[in-house]
């Protein structure tokens, strides 16, 4: 699924960080652990094709993603990778439904309202589909951002600190949803966190030092 080979990145301040090689198998669920500043976000950006590393290669489903053109890489990301950020960041001028349709169209997939409805239903927020992001609570917004990440049935689901801004109850719920959704959509799941509440749910761990 994912093969990380001899990847290292130089920060602008000259600091260099090297990542150990990483093989992720189809459908597996991983925890990416590391203290703040250890390069977690950098690694996630490298994995998702947002940040090109100075050395090494990243292959997803056999495609060496940094050999793609910028446009193809964006397209590849839209179709194959679903990303959940620490904060939901939905487009404020669009309704929940429109936010999901937008994700479909950016990936050049046809608008599929049934899929939108199914995903929202499986996350328990079907009744909010015509609401605007400002009308939803943090927990609901985080669910929408999960919905947006899985709407195109990605093969890889990546979450960056998805629980850190949530209380215990919501954190547990979101974590459960992530694991459930990766199961439903048969997606490989990588969760980057320093949140201790998350650790127990995973068996595979990649630790940054």
């Amino acid at each position: 699924m994912i093969a990380l080979n001899a990847v290292s990145h130089n920060y602008q301040n000259g600091h260099k960080i090297s990542f150990k090689d990483w093989q992720v198998n189809d459908g597996s669920q991983w925890l990416l652990l590391g203290a703040s500043g250890s390069g977690k976000t950098t690694l996630l950006h490298i994995l998702t094709g947002i940040l090109k590393p100075q050395q090494g290669s990243v292959a997803i489903n056999g495609t060496s993603i940094y050999n793609l053109s910028s446009k193809d890489l964006d397209q590849f990301r839209g179709r194959n990778i679903g990303i959940i950020f620490q904060r939901p960041h939905l487009i404020k001028s669009l309704t929940i439904k429109e936010n999901l349709i937008m994700a479909q169209s950016f990936a050049n997939l046809p608008t599929d309202l049934n899929r939108v409805k199914d995903v929202l239903t499986s996350l328990g927020i079907a009744d909010k589909k015509n609401a605007y992001p400002s009308e939803l609570s943090q927990g609901q917004l985080q669910r929408v951002s999960i919905a947006r990440a899985v709407i195109n049935k990605p093969t890889l689901l990546i979450a960056d600190e998805p629980t850190s801004s949530l209380d215990d109850k919501n954190a547990a719920a979101v974590l459960k949803l992530l694991i459930d959704q990766s199961g439903i959509n048969q997606a490989t799941l990588i969760v980057a966190t320093h949140d201790k509440r998350v650790k127990d749910a995973f068996t595979n761990t990649y630790e940054l030092s």
């Binding site: 976000t41 950098t42 950006h45 998702t48 947002i50 940040l51 910028s70 446009k71 964006d74 397209q75 990301r77 839209g78 179709r79 990778i81 990303i83 950020f85 620490q86 904060r87 960041h89 487009i91 404020k92 001028s93 669009l94 429109e98 349709i101 937008m102 994700a103 479909q104 169209s105 950016f106 990936a107 050049n108 608008t111 947006r148 195109n152």
Partner: protein
């Protein structure tokens, strides 16, 4: 969901600042539209009304005033000229056609013009209903006059002394409508035409009687002392242009004025005001462009995270560029459209409130040049949005996303 719809929704998500931008652009475009329409119509009217008239001969005074009063029926006449001298000029070999005019009365602000059948020929008039005036106190009225004053064939009315106002009414004789002109698209739409002797009789019927008594022995008493306001002249040959005006100005007590020359002079005077307003409108447009730019630039700061998220969802750099630039173009095009509509309605409103019906402006005339305003709107949109759009295109999404 197309990028255009995202731009569209984004505009609607901040209605106040979008409305401000659209309003600024609309005002600028509106002023330009009014200027465009008004100056075009004014110059057309100036040309139309003096098309076949090469020269106007009238009493000495301001040549512009003579033209304004005898061609456009706006200003007061310069005075009167003796009919005898006018007829001598009319018989000159330089002249192909000469039309005498006798002004002095109005009916509800519409000028009553005493003239002869040459007037029909020089303006190529046709009647829509009825016939041309033939006997004293018969009139043929312009199509706008019939419409505005609700006059029909057979109606009668009293003229009032002066060129406007209806305090001093000539009650002795009533005019009768004998014909209505077909629309001519020039000043004759707003005139009441009759023969010259009607105007004379209207003015001093008693004096005329006395006059006849006193000058029994005079062979041509009427011609001897009669006066008219001016004489419209059509030249026989281009040679006349050089000779005739000089002859009139030097050898008679009258003056000759060329409608073409005076119209050009008049329009150059108006032109100064038009130019000033034009620059003012351009300035407003420029401010509008800056306002759209600031609006987009600021919203881009807020939206940089949104745009980065769109990239993670698969949108290419090109799409982000399109989203931002489309937003700018939509704002300015909406402003341009509203501005053009505003300009037309405003001009129609101004025309409706104009006192002088002779120079009435219409807002419901569309010009090819208005397409340039669209192009200008588009250009302003691109100008205002290009920097934010390029920024969106170039943005380093990894940096933006990790800032949080």
């Amino acid at each position: 969901m197309s990028p255009l719809k995202i731009s569209w929704k984004s505009i609607w998500s901040k209605p106040l600042s979008s409305a401000l931008n659209i309003m600024l652009i609309a005002f600028g475009t509106g002023i330009l539209t009014i200027l465009l329409l008004a100056s075009k119509q004014i110059s057309d009217k100036l040309e139309n009304n003096s098309k076949d008239i090469d020269l106007v001969v009238g009493a000495k005074g301001s040549p512009l005033q003579l033209i304004l009063s005898s061609i456009y029926y706006i200003d007061f006449p310069t005075g009167n000229i003796p009919l005898k001298e006018a007829e001598e000029l009319a018989r000159s070999p330089f002249v192909k056609k000469a039309v005498p005019l006798a002004l002095g009365d109005n009916y509800n602000g519409v000028r009553i013009v005493g003239t002869d059948s040459n007037f029909v020929g020089i303006y190529k008039l046709k009647v829509k209903e009825g016939k041309f005036w033939q006997i004293d106190f018969e009139t043929t009225i312009g199509t706008s006059v019939a419409e505005n004053l609700k006059l029909k064939i057979g109606d009668t009315f009293y003229g009032a002394h002066g060129l406007a106002g209806s305090t001093d009414v000539h009650k002795t004789h009533a005019y009768k409508v004998s014909g209505i002109l077909a629309p001519q698209g020039n000043v004759t739409d707003n005139l009441i035409l009759t023969n010259i002797s009607s105007v004379w009789k209207m003015h001093d019927p008693e004096e005329e009687k006395e006059h006849n008594h006193r000058t029994d022995k005079n062979e041509a008493p009427e011609i001897e002392n009669k006066e008219i306001t001016s004489l419209l002249i059509q030249y026989r040959s281009p040679m006349s242009v050089v000779m005739f005006p000089r002859m009139v100005n030097e050898s008679t007590n009258m003056q000759a004025a060329s409608p073409a020359q005076e119209s050009t002079r008049l329009f150059s005077l108006i032109g100064v005001g038009v130019d000033t307003l034009q620059w003012f409108a351009v300035l407003i447009m420029f401010i509008a462009a800056i306002s759209v730019f600031v609006n987009l630039y600021n919203s881009l700061k807020e939206r940089s995270y949104d745009l980065a998220i769109m990239r993670t969802l698969g949108a290419s750099r090109g799409k982000l560029f399109l989203i931002v630039i489309a937003e700018g173009i939509m704002l300015t095009l909406a402003g341009t459209l509203i501005g053009i509509a505003l300009g037309h309605f405003a001009l129609q409103f101004i025309g409706g409130n104009q006192e002088s019906s002779q120079a009435r402006l219409s807002g419901f005339i569309f010009l090819g040049q208005e397409a340039y305003l669209f192009v200008a709107g588009l250009a302003i949109g691109i100008f205002a949005a290009i920097i934010p759009a390029v920024q969106a295109y170039r943005s380093n999404i990894s940096k933006i996303l990790s800032k949080n």
